[in-house]
Symmetry: C2
Subunit: 423 residues, 2 copies
Amino acid sequence: MRIFAIKGDIIFSETPQTLTIRPNAYAVCEDGLCAGVFDALPNRYAAIPVHDCTGRLVIPGLTDLHAHAPQYAFRALGMDMELLDWLDRQAFPQEARYADQDYARAAYTLFADDLRRSATTRAVLFGTLHVPATLTLMALLEQTGLVTRVGKVNMDRNGTDDLCEPSAAQSLRDTRRWLDACSDFTRCRPILTPRFLPSCTDELMRGLCALQRETGLPVQSHLSENQGEIAWVKELCPDAQGYGDAYDRFGLFGGDGCPTVMAHCVWSDEAERALMRERGVFIAHCPQSNTNLSSGAAPARVLLNEGQRIGLGSDVAGGAHLSILRAMADAIQVSKLHWRLNDPDAKPLTLPEAFWMATRGGGAFFGRVGAFEPGYEFDAVVLDDAALPCPFPLTPAERLARIVYLAEDRAVVHKYAAGTQLF
Amino acid sequence: MRIFAIKGDIIFSETPQTLTIRPNAYAVCEDGLCAGVFDALPNRYAAIPVHDCTGRLVIPGLTDLHAHAPQYAFRALGMDMELLDWLDRQAFPQEARYADQDYARAAYTLFADDLRRSATTRAVLFGTLHVPATLTLMALLEQTGLVTRVGKVNMDRNGTDDLCEPSAAQSLRDTRRWLDACSDFTRCRPILTPRFLPSCTDELMRGLCALQRETGLPVQSHLSENQGEIAWVKELCPDAQGYGDAYDRFGLFGGDGCPTVMAHCVWSDEAERALMRERGVFIAHCPQSNTNLSSGAAPARVLLNEGQRIGLGSDVAGGAHLSILRAMADAIQVSKLHWRLNDPDAKPLTLPEAFWMATRGGGAFFGRVGAFEPGYEFDAVVLDDAALPCPFPLTPAERLARIVYLAEDRAVVHKYAAGTQLF
């Protein structure tokens, strides 16, 4: 049994509305799980090793609920298009490069290194449709010590000549081959990944549902991001009552035994939101991507108040930044414009709410993750803000606000995921 | 006469719509002015020193048309309020600290250092109402080599007990004392700075107008940022036809011999915009501040298409970031939400347009500034993006896009302002 403590100014969420702040306290990790936070170490822990981070902030690791690993290479490029054009002219041609294993290794090495150094400890990621490249990504992530879910993408229609699977059968065969090959990984595990409805034939969706029922694997996809996309889904699935219902008809929209993340939900109407709540679907709110692709502003306040399961996603490369610190600030900022321009009833998000989404909200997809509460998996990030001097004394909450708004991933000096120190 | 060249991948704006890109070229500086950009050095320049920045980007220095130097210390704090509450509860109490010269020196040293290291070469800045602190700020800026305009703030009403001048007469006396004391500075020069209409009595405004006519100094203030503020101005100036007209009635709204910057212009109506155009008022567009303070989205597309004089401002600390690279990305992102949510006719800004605003648009306030054209003052920033590796080759325009979207002020490795190398 491995026990240790981190000492520092500990901040985490117990509710969405407030930050729990324990200055100069000890967060104890026992066999990978949090044993609690203590102002002084109880006698039973008197002899355990203490990682002394006095004067630094200690927060739970952040969860990125939605990002495309192969798109990291071209982040910040081609940002003058909307979703469907951007997919055809930017994302798909770039993803086609991952047929080349040398390219994949070079690009994914950069991605894995940067994710490792960030404030993120958990991530739910898209790969590409290529099995070898996706296995390369998973091997690199496994080495980082991060806890991740990665999906080989399924897409057997509406791709490009260079990026489309030839048939549902081939897509499903490749998926099984991929699942067999990645079964030894322990920290980087698979997730079924139909790209989005327009990319998957009915046959493929049915096959993925069968595979999901057989394996119990979680599922990720995209939902109601852009109005052109929604109109297209309506054409493709005329019988469905909406985009979410279209997934649901294929059995790939949450519910018991089918944990599901849907990215975006910018335009989900009341019926779709009700179905998400009923099915326990996780919403990956990706404010920067919604902005860059002119998709709109997801109604984060409404989703939060409805009690939806909601976390934050970088959506690299719809979002240019891998930082979930940045995603917190983006979420607050977009919620302010949404309030002022769109919906006077939807009060802006607060920093504690954004922090809650980035920690517990998204972390819940991985189980008991995202807080320093007894029994939670021990993910911790130690932040040193010495590079941000201030002429007056700051409270821990103010120091956190600066790191969040300034997206200072450089402040990350130590990181633990599921009880293991990464650096 | 001092002549030198910088060699590198040179990017600047000739029009708002396109970037002029001159790979592996020479920008020549002759006595502080640009002599042109050359693919090979002409014979007459054969012997001049060349600063070899091959493989790096060379762009014009950026202009920050609006920031509050004393607010840099508390950037990213108190971001859950709208403008008028934020002024009373955050900005004013914080500015009151600058009565203490030791505090002012400590805080302004941090500000000046960070501004010096950023991609900004020109800035138009608010100080506080305190004469000694404002002189300290100016002395520190003078040492940086940046070219700046700094204003001692005038505010004789609606402040707080700790931050309000006792009378118009005292405010004007202090202003003259400040102008006398800063007359030796050459790079950091004064600008008249009525905080905003609600902060200045009619008597003070009339006195400032007289002082402006006497000195020919430029003027900066705030305009039509927030709807509560606009309603307040209407109460205070019932005879004016609008907020801009209220300044104009006091002779402090541009026109011949009275160069003026107005920050924000989020809610300026057609009449106000027509007056700005007529008077040649410079608009400081501050997209991040507009977002943080829930002010709204300034109609940058409309302002640009109308031919307004418009540049970018960080508006620290309404904006949390001093980076004008970040302000470019913010401007594009806010314009996308404005387009999607507010005005389907207002097409989003492009990167070349944002770059134009950050260089020539704002630079024009300082004269012929913001481009590598013959006769322009020589402001240059050398950017090294080696810390942003990419698995495929990038064009200079793509490299610029990454530095802008990722707000990589860390990429700044050399900087020149008005022909002088700062580092």
